[in-house]
């Protein structure tokens, strides 16, 4: 493996937390085994890389962009990395869909926001201005692949890195990583070619397909909030009256949250074939109401709180059809 054919790998983070970058660093502490295949040329969080390091003739083969776009600097960074990178991957729910920072699009007040100086004055430097709206990466530039999750599970991250960086010389231990991926992606990885452009490194069905809970009969009697009483043993959470977003969420995580007794909150984004996750949840929940009285149903619906913030918890900026139009330039 000579140096020339080593892929150049970059990781950049916008606004979010550092969980995705730590997830990459910690893949069963095997990230060091990537060194035969790749040179990490730009990773501000770990290597302290500067933008000058990417000057001119340094192209990037694969760039993982993490975090939502909230400031003017991050927008510029997204455009610049799109130009420089052969393959741009939206890694994590924030980059892919907007993530938790996207919830700020629902807030009414400009709370805690600093009135930043647009330019340096002679006395103090400027900070990047905060845009009026949080956006996901795909709303700013074209994205080649998506790895959803908050943070993405390590097996899917590893599968993506195998597919995109290691190419034909993919390492062993792949079988478990490709197990949950759709056929066209897993075949591409094992054959050593790039998966189809736009692929999402996750399953195609809803989380219910991999959730370990027992599904019996779906009847919503009253909605309950997670701090109220519900059985923690084995039965589907939606059936017990909790609002669980598994039905409108892409699978691939293996149902981690429901396994611990917590309802899914949709960090993998919407599955194939769903137009709008909120509409899907409305359909799923209300189709299970038993009552035939309009009055009873109104009373039951009144007990639900914060539908938008729950149904679109991680996907508000990009997958909520009625709030996702990016601003005009």
């Amino acid at each position: 493996m000579n140096r020339k054919s080593k892929k150049k790998f970059a990781v950049f983070a916008g606004t979010g937390c550092r969980a995705c970058e730590k997830a990459i660093l910690d893949i069963h502490y095997q990230v060091h085994s990537l060194s035969p295949w790749t040179d990490i040329v730009f990773w501000p969080y770990v290597l302290g890389s500067r933008w000058e390091d990417l000057d001119d003739d340094v192209g990037i083969d694969v760039c993982f962009f993490i975090g939502a776009i909230r400031t003017s600097e991050e927008r510029k960074a997204a455009r610049r990395l799109r130009e420089k990178a052969g393959i741009l991957v939206a890694c994590g729910a924030c980059a892919a869909y907007g993530g938790l920072p996207g919830l700020d699009n629902l807030s009414y007040a400009e709370c805690g926001r600093v009135e930043s100086e647009p330019e340096d004055s002679d006395l103090i430097p400027s900070v990047p201005s905060i845009e009026s709206r949080v956006s996901s990466l795909s709303q700013i530039v074209a994205v080649d692949f998506v790895i959803p999750g908050c943070p993405p599970t390590q097996n899917l991250l590893w599968a993506a890195m195998q597919a995109l960086i290691c190419g034909p010389e993919s390492l062993t231990k792949l079988s478990y990583t490709v197990a949950r991926l759709p056929e066209n992606i897993s075949r591409a990885i094992t054959a050593g070619i790039l998966p189809p452009n736009g692929s999402v490194f996750a399953g195609e069905k809803a989380v219910c397909a991999s959730c370990s809970r027992l599904k019996e009969e779906k009847k919503f009697k009253t909605v309950i909030r997670p701090y109220q009483k519900y059985e923690e043993s084995g039965r589907c959470l939606l059936e017990q009256g909790l609002v669980c977003l598994g039905i409108s969420t892409r699978e691939g995580c293996g149902g981690i949250c429901t396994a611990v007794g917590q309802p899914c909150r949709g960090c993998f984004g919407k599955p194939e074939g769903v137009y709008d996750p909120g509409a899907k949840m409305v359909s799923a929940i209300s189709s299970t109401f038993e009552s035939e009285s309009a009055q009873e149903i109104e009373t039951m619906v009144d007990a639900f709180e914060d539908l938008t913030g729950t149904f679109y918890r991680y996907t508000l900026p990009s997958q909520c059809s009625l709030m996702s139009k990016p601003q005009e330039e």
Binding site: V274, D276, M323
Partner: protein, 139 residues
């Protein structure tokens, strides 16, 4: 600059409300022309995502017309529509769609006058409310 004319999408069930709409036309009831009709076989087949897609696509109002409870050609299809409507209306309201913009109405096949009245009411109300502008951000 011409005055705003709303676009209202209606999903009318084949057996009752569509017949009423047709009859309203034949009987020459005065109806405003802002309505675009989509015929469906039952109000119960109107998925909430159709309604959201309509607003996403530029509609200013959506009307779903079905048979009276008990008269559904498919027995309980309209009950399914009735079960969905409140939760959908609540979500739409949170997303900035005023409650006057989305209506579920029971319109019997013989009641073409009711159809015309509902349509005209909706057009007037929404014309007053103005165009539906999608919020890019709250506030």
């Amino acid at each position: 600059m011409s005055a705003f004319e709303p676009k209202i999408i209606t999903f009318l069930c084949n057996w009752c409300s569509y017949v009423a709409a047709d009859a309203a036309g034949v009987s020459r009831f005065m109806q405003q022309t802002n309505v675009r009709v989509i015929r469906v076989f039952c109000s119960g087949m109107v998925d909430p995502s159709y309604v959201i897609k309509a607003f996403d696509g530029g509609a200013d109002g959506v009307l779903v017309g079905g048979c009276f409870p008990g008269d559904c050609h498919y027995i309980s299809g309209n009950i399914k529509a009735m079960r969905r409507a409140p939760l959908l209306a609540k979500l739409l309201n949170e997303l900035g769609v005023e409650k006057e913009r989305f209506r579920l109405e029971w319109i019997a096949a013989s009641d073409s006058a009711l159809y015309a009245r509902v349509v005209n009411e909706m057009c007037d109300t929404i014309r007053r409310l103005g165009p539906f502008t999608m919020r890019r951000k709250a506030g």
